[in-house]
Every structure is written in structure tokens, then in C-alpha cells.
């Protein structure tokens, strides 16, 4: 759809149920022209390469992914295969979106996912490089999409409380101090996007694993399986081909939910205790 047609559609959209005059959309002079350098890879076994595209007349109000939508719409209308990238909720919680923008997982800004980056963070005329998460344990399926099922398998190893439906006691029979609940929530906020892995030179998943272990291992519900859980999850992490932590703190810096690297310390301590006790 041409921009003019799109503008017409949106104007109609607003005028339909609206008797008052609206202000004009932001003037086009604020809009930007950008060059994108994007990783294209036709399937897991393809070698892949960076390809340049222009993104013209981009509004600073657009989200980064909306900018890619506009570029893709253009490519599609020219019968060129659009850039494949993952996204779903587009409100920063599903963990699906996963772009390395100018070398930074989830792009500029801190504590945000790719879908929450807005084009106002970029300047007219600039070049933006866009690459997928890169880690041995996250094979690329196409272009910017990767397979993160390794995270599911780590969770299968022990990221749960073994409790069958129907067997729970009354919820208030397990009192939990407010600050403990908050601490567990801080760790539980992980969205499983894998930016921590993508940012780490060792492709370590220890922030992801640490957050889940911390969430469950500090709560009373998680105590019966505390040692078994940490041992199983860490062992699974190693089997999946993730590396170890060497204290660079890149994971914490790019984490869209600002999960603290302190959880890795907790993970290490609990892992050692588990191993000493024979798990």
C-alpha cells in the first residue's frame, strides 16, 4: 500500500465516527530516510549474508518493528521476499521478538524489548544493522528468526514445582513475606527471550537459568525440590551447548526486564550445595 493510500485510509478511519476536525498528522519533514543492513539467510543450512535496504519516510512515532513492516510491505509489493523476523504481542511480554540492532540485543535503550524500540531513537540518514540472536544453541531458522526450544528443554529438566492439579492447600495457608514475594517476582519476570545468551561472548544461559532457579528456590513451595531442580537445570543447560558465565554482565545490561546478574551468584551457590549433597 502506498503511503498516500495509507494516509487516506487512516483519515477516513478517524473521520468516519468523528464530527470534529482533526489536526494534521505530524509533518513529513520530521520523517527519516534510513539505510538498513539486514541479515538474510534462506534456512538453517544457508550461509547467509548482509543485504542493504532503504527505509524511506519513516515517522519517529513508529515502533522499530512497524518500520520493518513498512519495509516488508514495500518488498512484498515488489514481489521480493520480505525479511523474516519474529514478533507477537508487540508489548514487551511474550519474548518472541529478538533482533540485534547495531550490535545490541533489543537495540538502544535499556530495559526494553525490540518491539518497544521507537524510531525516535534514530536519526535521519543513519545506517542500522539488524542481525539475529547468534548462539550455537539457537540455530537460525530463517533471516532473523531463531529456534529457542533449548530454553523449553532446560525448563523441562526442573523449572517447576511438582504438584498435581487439585492437590493444593488453601492459598493463604502458605504465608509468604511481602518482600520475599517481590524478590521472587523480580526473578520470575523473565520473558525467556534469550537476549542474555545473544549478548554473552560465551553464549551462556546462566541469567535465564538463574532467574528461574531464584524464583522457585527462595519460595517455600520450591523447597522440596530445591537441590534437584538446580542440578538438573544447570546440567541441561550444559548439554544444550550454552557456555559458562565469566562475569561480563552483558546479560544484565541487555535484559529487557532488567533481571539482575546477582541471580547468577545465587545459582552458583545453590548448584554447589546441590552437588556437594550428591545431586
Amino acid at each position: 500500500m502506498s503511503l498516500a493510500r495509507r494516509l487516506k485510509a487512516i483519515t477516513e478511519f478517524f473521520s468516519k465516527s468523528q464530527p470534529v476536525e482533526t489536526n494534521e498528522e505530524k509533518s513529513h519533514s520530521e520523517n527519516m530516510n534510513l539505510t538498513l543492513k539486514v541479515w538474510r539467510q534462506n534456512g538453517t543450512d544457508d550461509k547467509g549474508e548482509m543485504v542493504s535496504y532503504s527505509a524511506n519516510d519513516i515517522s519517529p512515532e513508529m515502533s522499530f518493528l512497524e518500520m520493518l513492516d513498512v519495509v516488508n510491505d514495500q518488498l512484498e509489493s515488489e514481489s521480493i521476499e520480505p525479511i523474516a523476523f519474529d514478533s507477537d504481542c508487540r508489548e514487551g511480554i511474550c519474548g518472541m521478538c529478538s533482533l540485534v540492532i547495531n550490535g545490541q540485543p533489543h537495540g538502544p535503550g535499556s530495559g526494553t524489548t525490540t518491539c518497544q524500540i521507537y524510531m525516535r531513537s534514530f536519526t535521519d540518514g543513519s545506517t542500522i544493522t539488524i542481525e539475529p540472536w547468534r548462539a550455537k544453541a539457537f540455530p537460525i531458522t530463517r533471516d532473523l528468526c531463531v529456534d529457542r526450544s533449548a530454553f523449553d528443554r532446560i525448563t523441562q529438566a526442573g523449572g517447576y514445582v511438582s504438584m498435581n492439579t487439585g492437590s493444593a492447600p488453601d492459598a493463604n495457608s502458605i504465608p509468604i513475606a511481602q518482600d520475599l514475594a517481590e524478590e521472587a517476582m523480580d526473578a520470575a519476570a523473565c520473558i525467556g527471550c534469550g537476549a542474555c545468551v545473544a549478548s554473552c561472548k560465551n553464549a551462556s544461559a546462566m541469567l535465564f537459568v538463574g532467574a528461574k532457579v531464584k524464583h522457585l528456590n527462595i519460595l517455600p513451595q520450591g523447597q522440596p525440590e530445591r537441590q534437584k531442580r538446580v542440578a538438573a537445570m544447570v546440567d541441561s543447560m550444559k548439554e544444550e551447548g550454552f557456555g559458562n558465565c565469566t562475569n561480563e554482565y552483558e546479560c544484565e545490561a541487555v535484559c529487557p526486564k532488567t533481571i539482575s546478574a546477582d541471580h547468577i551468584g545465587f545459582l552458583n551457590r545453590d548448584y554447589v550445595k546441590a552437588k556437594i549433597s550428591g545431586q
Binding site: 487512516i10 518500520m67 514481489s79 521476499e81 492459598a171 519476570a189
Partner: protein
């Protein structure tokens, strides 16, 4: 076709207990001989997979995302209702039941809603035991907040990420069953056809979204937990991938679609900013606990909000509904916002927004307290709008959020097709014509954790299910239908993109079947939908091939189904010649502009039978019988 909802007899409070006793059981050793396909891994599908796996059934679990944890339930913010009465403020199972039936504008099935309220308390126990980090009081007990349409505090929450935490609870239970081998995961699969053998749902045809291959799966039963159809509007708060395809494919194979015109427009979303907009972002309803909604008293008042003195502001919800104030139900709040904007009193650059103001709450409680309660929501707002809601009021406008309609199911959550069960937002049964806040999470988990484990056993134990394999001719036929359709899509080679068609369709649905509808418009809209659909099948361009990852092809299939579904919405909205809940027919309103129901003629569920694309569907009615709740004009004044 006679519709039998199979509602158990007896007093409402005893129906579920009696029914569970009456249902035949499957011997534990026999459960392992039965397989259930579950499509969707949100709260309903995830909790069902976990629980059926624990019981010993073999579960095949499918989702379109790369991990079951990414289903859109994850985005639910505000909370989950339960009749725990921990606050000692007068709540009870009966009150939750009553509020839900009333909130749904008396268009829900009483027996289902009562069961929902009954199991709500077990859901909280279940989730707390899984380690869901619910908000707590200092003494360690669970905290509650209030939500729209209720005068008690019965909503449990985990910051503004309740859906995420509940889903991760269900997901982790499900992962435990994957570990034991009882649940097999099939991520990145999209259901394209339902396979029906001898009148029973026995399997599905899916496309593997990574390899592009078409695959077949057989089971004793098929459970759909595939969410709602809000993306028929193009712009909604749903995730980009949410779609009606699985439900619609089942509908085309004979499953009745109930009340498709019941859609929920959520009052507090971030307004549309431009034509490139790809989705709308919800601001949790919980904000209405502390935020005050207002617009200028005068039309076309262009002053900034800080410059508008108290006397020139109209806190229209507090004025019109003094007893519920800013906490009126969603349909009422949305229509009121539309009304003031239609009067020319809307704010922001488009004039399609109202203020949600926290100044009074910050004065009263301090910025720190407000930050604690809503910090992540305020952050999200300022990321998107580049404004600071601690200093200036938020601008909000209604947006499509949830769909109450869905596949018709009986009390056992089974559709009219034997062996096809439908859970969560994908079915129609519990919310009537309007859903109350914090009830979607409750329903998804009720269906998956507590209802289906009982009713599925009843079906398997009492029904003769023949042995079949995926080489049955019905699988050949269904696979052929799926591939024919894909090949047809790929062969069109037109000039308009899939999104372009989707946007055009969405505008028609929003304009004519959105917050208000009328007969003339709906007739016009049906014609428009037909013509967009005709053009789609002649002029859409789809790049790439069937093999490998092809996101355009994925979207094209979904949009093609939305185009057929949208027509059914128009037919349903036109047939329902009354206003109720989210379905507001302009011809039927009170003098004060509230929805006017017609209980004498429309106290029924509309269940539609597919007869062909562009053909008139056949209406089947399930009469709604209210034995416990007295039908009144809903009042929140």
C-alpha cells in the same frame, strides 16, 4: 439440529458436584490408551495439557509460537478473579456468579457461570502452590484489588503481569509432563483443517511453520484452545499472531459458531497514532482504581490538560454513574468515551482520546505509592508516547480486546461435533455479551485445570471410539483441502499485500461492527466484506513458497479466514435486533443512551451453522433460561 446444552438438573449450587458424580470414569490404567490433541498453549490449553498429562492421558500439544510459553495469555496484565472473600467484604461464590451474569448483560448460560465461580477458589490455590508470585500483604497473605463491574475486592494479581505469571505456572506444569513423556510438544505448527471421521473429531492437519511441511495427527479427541478473533479488526490489543483459523476451520467442518457479534472493546488503551500502526496497547483496567477519567466540558478545547481548571473538566463517568464511578464495566466505559469524543470533546491530536488522570491519586497517596502499584504500566505508556504520566494525564481510547463469542459448547465444553472440545476464549459460554475484567484468566484456567479433566473422561468412557490411523481417507481429504488452498493462495500473484487487505477489512469491521452498530450499516458492511474477499482471492500477492519459513503465507491463510468470518459477524449482529453488553445496536437504546435488551425475543444464544462461503448460514437457538438471576436493566448508577 436440536441444541442440547446438557445442563445437569438440580439446584444451581449442586449441578457440578452431581454432574461429576454422574460422569463415567476412565480407569487409571486405561487412560494411557487414549490420546488428546490440544491446539493452543495459553492458559486454557496449557493448563489442560498439564492436567490431562498428570491424569495419564497422552497429550499432543500444538502451538504456532516457537515456545508454548509465548501464547497471548502472557500479555494479560491486571489480575484474576476468585470468590475467596479473603477481604471479608461480602464476596461469595454466588456474588461472583451474579456479577458475571449481570456483567454479561444476561446473555451467558447460568450453569456454566456458576461452575466458573465455584472453581475460581481452587484456581488460586493451584497457582499459589505452583509458586506464582502473587502480590502479598505484609503479613504474608494474598493481596487483592478491585476491578470494573464489581464492588468487592476479589482480584488477585502479580504486579501488572498476572497473565504472564499464571501462564508460566501452567507452562511449567506442562513442561514437567513433557519431561515425563506424557505431553509431546509440537511448536511452530498451525492447524489448517479438522479431521472428522464418522461424525467425530479425530485429528488435525497442520503446517509445520519451520519446514513448511503439511503434517497429520490422529487422536481420540481434539481440544481447541486457540483464543479469540479480535484481529478481525486488524488493530486490536491481541498479539499479531492471534487468529480465528482453527475455530473457523472447525466451523466449516460442522461446529457451530456462537454469538460472533459479541466483542469487547476495552476502554483503556493507548490511542492510535498513525496509519502504520500495527497493534494497540492496553493499559490495565486496574488503572481505573486510581485514575480519574475526564474530558473538557467545552467542545474543541485545545488547552493542555494542566491549563484546564477543575470547573472546565467533565469527569463524565463519575457524573453519569455515581455509585460505580470510574469502575463501570468495560462496555459502558467504552461507549461513554466514544460519546464524549463524538460530541467533539475528545483530546489529543486526533480528538479520539480521553484523559486518565492520576494527579489526585498522587496528591493523596504520593508518587511512590502509585509507582509501586502501576510502575510497569506507566513505563510502558511513556515508552510508547514519550510522555510522563506522573506529570500529565494519560490519553486513552477504547480498542478491541476480547471476544466473548466463539465455538458453541455444551456444559461439558464439547461442541456439537462429538469429540471436539473448546476451551477458554475460543468458546462462547461464560461471559455473555460482555466480559468483566480479570475474568478471562479465571475462565481459561477453570476450563483447563478443573472442567476438561472431568468432562473429557466422561466422553471417553461413554463413547465408542474406533481405532483409526492417519492413513484413513478422511485424512487424505483434509490434507488435500489444506494444500489446495495454499496452492491457490500462492498462485494468485496479484498486486496488493496481505496486510493491505487485512487493514481494509479491519476498518470495515470497526466502522460498522465496532462500538455501535445499526441495521443499515451492517447490511452495507456485509456487502463490503464480500467485495474485499472477492478482490483478495484475485489480487493478493504472496511471496515465497510452501516450503520453509514463509510468514507472508501464514498471514495470508489467517486473513483469508477472517474474511469469511467477518461476514458471519455482520449476519449475527444484524440478526440480534437488540442491544446487549458489547453489542450496541443504535436502534435499541434508552433515553440516556444505555443498551436496551429485548429479553422477550432475544434471550438466546445464536449458534450458526456453516452452509458455504457467501451463503446465508443457518441459525440455531439455545434458549437461555434464568432460574436464579432476575433479569433487570443493568444499572451502575
Amino acid at each position: 439440529m436440536a441444541l442440547d446444552a446438557h445442563i445437569p438438573s438440580g439446584p444451581i449450587a449442586e449441578k457440578w458436584d452431581n454432574h461429576r458424580f454422574d460422569l463415567q470414569l476412565v480407569n487409571p490404567a486405561n487412560k494411557r490408551k487414549h490420546t488428546a490433541i490440544i491446539v493452543g498453549t495459553g492458559l486454557a490449553g496449557g493448563s489442560a495439557a498439564a492436567t490431562l498429562g498428570q491424569l495419564g492421558y497422552n497429550v499432543l500439544s500444538f502451538c504456532s509460537q516457537d515456545s508454548p510459553r509465548r501464547a497471548h495469555s502472557i500479555a494479560a496484565q491486571g489480575g484474576i478473579n476468585a470468590a475467596k472473600n479473603y477481604q471479608n467484604d461480602g464476596d461469595s461464590i454466588y456474588r461472583l456468579f451474579y456479577d458475571t451474569v449481570k456483567g454479561g448483560d444476561y446473555r451467558a448460560r447460568e450453569a456454566n457461570v456458576y461452575r466458573l465461580a465455584q472453581v475460581s477458589t481452587q484456581i488460586i490455590d493451584q497457582c499459589a502452590a505452583q509458586g506464582v508470585p502473587f502480590a502479598r500483604e505484609y503479613g504474608g497473605t494474598l493481596a487483592n484489588r478491585s476491578f470494573g463491574g464489581a464492588q468487592v475486592s476479589r482480584t488477585f494479581y502479580a504486579r501488572g503481569q498476572t497473565g504472564q505469571q499464571l501462564l508460566l505456572g501452567a507452562y511449567s506444569s506442562m513442561m514437567r509432563q513433557v519431561h515425563t513423556g506424557k505431553v509431546k510438544l509440537f511448536p511452530r505448527r498451525e492447524m489448517l483443517e479438522l479431521v472428522v471421521i464418522d461424525g467425530k473429531a479425530r485429528g488435525i492437519i497442520v503446517r509445520n511453520l519451520d519446514s513448511g511441511k503439511i503434517e497429520r495427527y490422529v487422536a481420540d479427541v481434539v481440544i481447541l484452545a486457540t483464543g479469540g478473533y479480535g484481529n478481525v479488526f486488524y488493530l486490536s490489543t491481541n498479539a499479531k499472531g492471534c487468529n480465528v483459523t482453527a475455530a473457523w476451520r472447525a466451523h466449516r467442518k460442522g461446529a457451530l459458531f456462537a454469538n460472533p457479534c459479541y466483542t469487547q472493546i476495552h476502554p483503556t488503551c493507548i490511542p492510535v497514532s498513525g496509519s502504520y500502526q500495527s497493534k494497540l496497547t492496553l493499559m490495565s483496567e486496574s488503572l481505573r482504581n486510581d485514575g480519574r477519567v475526564w474530558v473538557p466540558r467545552k467542545t474543541n478545547d485545545t488547552r493542555s490538560p494542566e491549563q484546564i481548571p477543575e470547573d472546565d473538566r467533565d469527569y463524565y463517568l463519575e457524573r453519569r454513574y455515581p455509585s460505580f464511578g470510574n469502575l463501570v464495566p468495560r462496555d459502558v466505559a467504552s461507549r461513554a468515551a466514544k460519546a464524549v469524543c463524538d460530541e467533539g470533546r475528545g483530546v489529543g491530536k486526533t480528538g479520539r482520546a480521553v484523559y486518565l488522570d492520576f494527579a489526585d491519586a498522587i496528591d493523596r497517596d504520593s508518587e511512590q505509592v502509585i509507582r509501586q502499584k502501576y510502575g510497569n504500566l506507566f513505563d510502558m505508556y511513556s515508552e510508547i508516547t514519550d510522555e510522563n504520566p506522573y506529570k500529565t494525564p494519560m490519553r486513552i481510547y477504547p480498542a478491541v480486546h476480547y471476544t466473548m463469542g466463539g465455538l458453541w459448547v455444551d456444559y461439558n465444553l464439547m461442541s456439537n461435533l462429538p469429540g471436539l472440545f473448546v476451551l477458554g476464549e475460543a468458546n462462547f459460554s461464560d461471559h455473555g455479551a460482555n466480559r468483566l475484567g480479570a475474568s478471562a484468566l479465571m475462565q481459561g484456567l477453570a476450563d483447563g485445570y478443573f472442567v476438561i479433566p472431568n468432562t473429557l473422561g466422561g466422553y471417553i468412557a461413554s463413547e465408542k471410539i474406533d481405532q483409526v490411523t492417519t492413513s484413513h481417507p478422511a485424512f487424505d481429504e483434509a490434507e488435500q483441502q489444506a494444500t489446495d488452498r495454499i496452492e491457490k493462495l500462492l498462485s494468485i500473484n496479484g498486486s496488493r499485500t496481505v496486510d493491505d487487505f487485512h487493514r481494509e477489512l479491519g476498518l470495515v469491521v470497526w466502522d460498522y461492527c465496532g462500538m455501535s452498530r445499526n441495521a443499515e450499516g451492517l447490511i452495507e458492511a456485509r456487502r463490503k466484506v464480500q467485495s474485499i474477499r472477492d478482490e483478495f482471492w484475485e489480487n493478493v500477492t504472496i511471496t515465497g513458497t510452501l516450503g520453509g519459513v514463509n510468514k507472508v503465507l501464514e498471514r495470508a491463510g489467517r486473513v483469508a479466514d477472517f474474511m469469511e468470518f467477518a461476514e458471519l459477524m455482520m449476519v449475527d449482529a444484524l440478526t440480534r435486533d437488540e442491544s446487549c453488553g458489547g453489542h450496541f445496536r443504535e436502534e435499541h437504546q434508552t433515553e440516556e443512551g444505555e443498551a436496551r435488551r429485548d429479553d422477550e425475543n432475544f434471550a438466546f444464544v445464536s449458534a450458526w451453522e456453516f452452509t458455504g462461503v457467501g451463503q446465508n448460514p443457518i441459525l440455531h437457538k439455545e434458549d437461555l433460561i434464568f432460574e436464579n438471576v432476575h433479569l433487570t436493566q443493568r444499572s451502575y448508577k
